[in-house]
């Protein structure tokens, strides 16, 4: 399975025919997927994410959200349909921090630059900048085992940030941290999104997290998943935790919850 990513077609991320001015970072067109064992997970899914857009993906457990992200990143090959995106520099944040235990925080954050053959001095500098962005600059020499769950997640974010990708895929990154840490990591993501202006797809099971982070919430159905709704979340960035208590926000969250209930 190691080389799946290399076989997938890569193209300039613009759609011919539709408006060429939009900066599409990810275009998923009529993608369906069935695993070799016969499990059908995606049915005719289409999704376009532009630069500066933050899409939250929410849906029943096991419906195929992770599979969709993997197909987008080229880690899994769809059975039919088309994916268009730049595959050489995608930020992918997994549910587990997946830090290499034998590397220091600094070494972990340098990893992708190293894989792209960035010279040592330069990647050191890049890693330091990324660590500073997530507030881990004093922990660069620590090994992952010495970090708390929240700090591991920050290190994982820094690792993905180091090459400044234009497309970020998050697969339930904060599902296993406590509520307070999660809120702070959400602030962190908002801050990074505001300053880096990447395109993001963020899978989550939390309705409030989805509405808080995203500019669009995409609701998926039971397996095999279709897209049920695509809801605009119009609040300006940067957002603050207080947003949770505003009526407009609560209304949006209720709308998503109802759609999810019908899924």
């Amino acid at each position: 399975m190691g080389d799946v990513g290399l076989e997938v077609t890569e193209r300039a991320p613009t759609l011919s025919g539709t408006d060429d001015t939009a900066d599409h970072q990810l275009v998923v067109r009529s993608v369906s997927h069935t695993f070799p064992d016969g499990t059908a997970v995606l049915r005719d899914v289409s999704l376009t994410v532009d630069r500066g857009e933050f899409v939250a993906l929410i849906g029943p457990s096991g419906c195929g959200k992770s599979t969709l992200l993997k197909i987008a990143a080229g880690l899994e090959k769809q059975t039919s349909g088309e994916v268009i995106c730049h595959r050489d520099n995608i930020g992918f944040v997994f549910q587990d921090a997946t830090l290499l235990p034998f590397r220091t925080v600094q070494g972990n954050v340098e990893l992708f630059a190293e894989l792209h053959k960035v010279p040592k001095a330069k990647r050191k500098e890049m890693a330091r900048a990324a660590l500073e962005m997530v507030g881990l600059q004093r922990f660069e020499d620590k090994y992952p085992k010495a970090l708390s769950g929240g700090m591991k997640m920050r290190a994982s974010l820094a690792r993905s940030l180091v090459l400044h990708p234009h497309l970020f895929l998050f697969d339930e990154p904060f599902a296993s941290v406590d509520e307070i840490t999660r809120a702070r990591l959400n602030d962190e993501v908002i801050k990074l999104f505001t300053s880096e202006q990447f395109a993001a797809v963020f899978v989550t099971h939390s309705i409030s997290e989805a509405c808080f982070l995203s500019s669009r919430v995409v609701v998926m159905s039971q397996r095999p998943a279709r897209i049920l709704a695509d809801i605009e979340i119009p609040f300006p960035y940067p957002r603050h935790q207080d947003l949770h208590y505003e009526t407009a926000f609560v209304d949006k969250a209720r709308q998503v919850a109802q759609l999810l209930g019908e899924a």
């Binding site: 997994f94 997946t98 290499l100 307070i180």
Partner: protein, 291 residues
């Protein structure tokens, strides 16, 4: 408080930062407490040692009559004869040197062969499928039963001794390295796939380092086995420079109980030293990061 700079407006968040930092930097160990723990840990074994020495001396002086005392000589006689008489000591030390040399040569060879086999098995499914049944066989058959055959084929010298060491110490290295190489989960592999890393890059930057703790465990087990293999080989083959195995045989034939026990003590010390050394190397290499 580097972390707090961004969140300084919110006291709750700031305390969260403090908590995280406290987690990251555990309190320094208390010297007094660790001394106490050390005493607790050593007291039990020391008591058992005293009991064993007591029984030993009792059997030697009281149970055995003087003509049969060579079966279990008093401890101070053993120590005096074996370790404080220069000619005796140098016989033991020279045998110790031979045994160490052969056992470590065998272990080195075992490490090279074992790791190559484990890497091949982890990289190529067909290799794993093909070799696995033989590994099970290697683990199940009593390898010491092969010792005569090894001598029969290769003669009774240095080469044969090394081959015995390799045979007996190979399996733990293959098994532990293979287990370690396969310990990187799918997500780790995907991390490298995302950036189109080659298989070789993944092997060097992911699988091998991930395997280290487990591999070193295997080294430690195999080092002990290699010493056993060397002594058995020497005992059986009886040729070349005398090692501990040869001495064991000689002293038994001469009914020389004191020197027999001297050789046994030396062999035991070697086993313990090898085990500790490899444990030490392991904590030097992976102690920093191992969970």
């Amino acid at each position: 408080m580097a972390l707090a700079t961004w969140h300084s407006s919110d006291p709750l968040q700031e305390s969260g930062d403090l908590q995280e930092e406290a987690l990251a930097q555990p309190a320094p160990p208390r010297r007094a407490r660790s001394a106490h723990r050390f005493a607790k840990a050593t007291l039990g074994p020391l008591a058992i040692l005293a009991v064993i020495v007591g029984i030993w001396e009792l059997v030697s002086y009281v149970v055995l009559d003087p003509q049969r005392r060579f079966l279990l000589p008093p401890l101070q006689t053993i120590f005096h004869q074996a370790f404080f008489i220069h000619s005796n000591l140098s016989v033991l030390l020279s045998a110790l040197g031979v045994t160490t040399e052969v056992a470590m040569a065998g272990l080195g060879l075992s490490i090279i062969i074992g790791m190559l086999i484990a890497i091949a098995m982890s990289e190529f499914k067909s290799m794993e499928r093909g070799l696995y049944p033989y590994l099970v066989v290697l683990q199940t058959i009593p390898i010491l039963a092969l010792v005569p055959l090894v001598g029969f084929w290769l003669g009774f010298g240095f080469t044969a001794r090394i081959v015995v060491c390799v045979l007996i110490s190979l399996f733990p290295i293959i098994a532990s390295t293979l287990f370690g190489l396969q310990s990187a989960t799918r997500a780790y592999h995907e991390l490298f796939d995302l950036h189109h890393a080659s298989r070789f890059t993944k092997l060097v930057k992911l699988k091998l380092p991930m395997a280290l703790p487990s591999t070193f465990n295997g080294f430690r087990i195999s080092a002990g086995l290699s010493v056993i293999g060397e002594i058995v080989g020497g005992y059986f083959f009886q040729q070349g420079k005398p090692d501990i195995g040869v001495l064991l045989d000689q002293f038994t034939a001469q009914l020389n109980g004191t020197m027999l026990f001297g050789a046994i003590f030396i062999a035991s010390l070697l086993g313990v030293a090898v085990f500790w050394t490899f444990g030490g190397i392991s904590s030097l290499v992976v102690g920093n990061w191992k969970e």
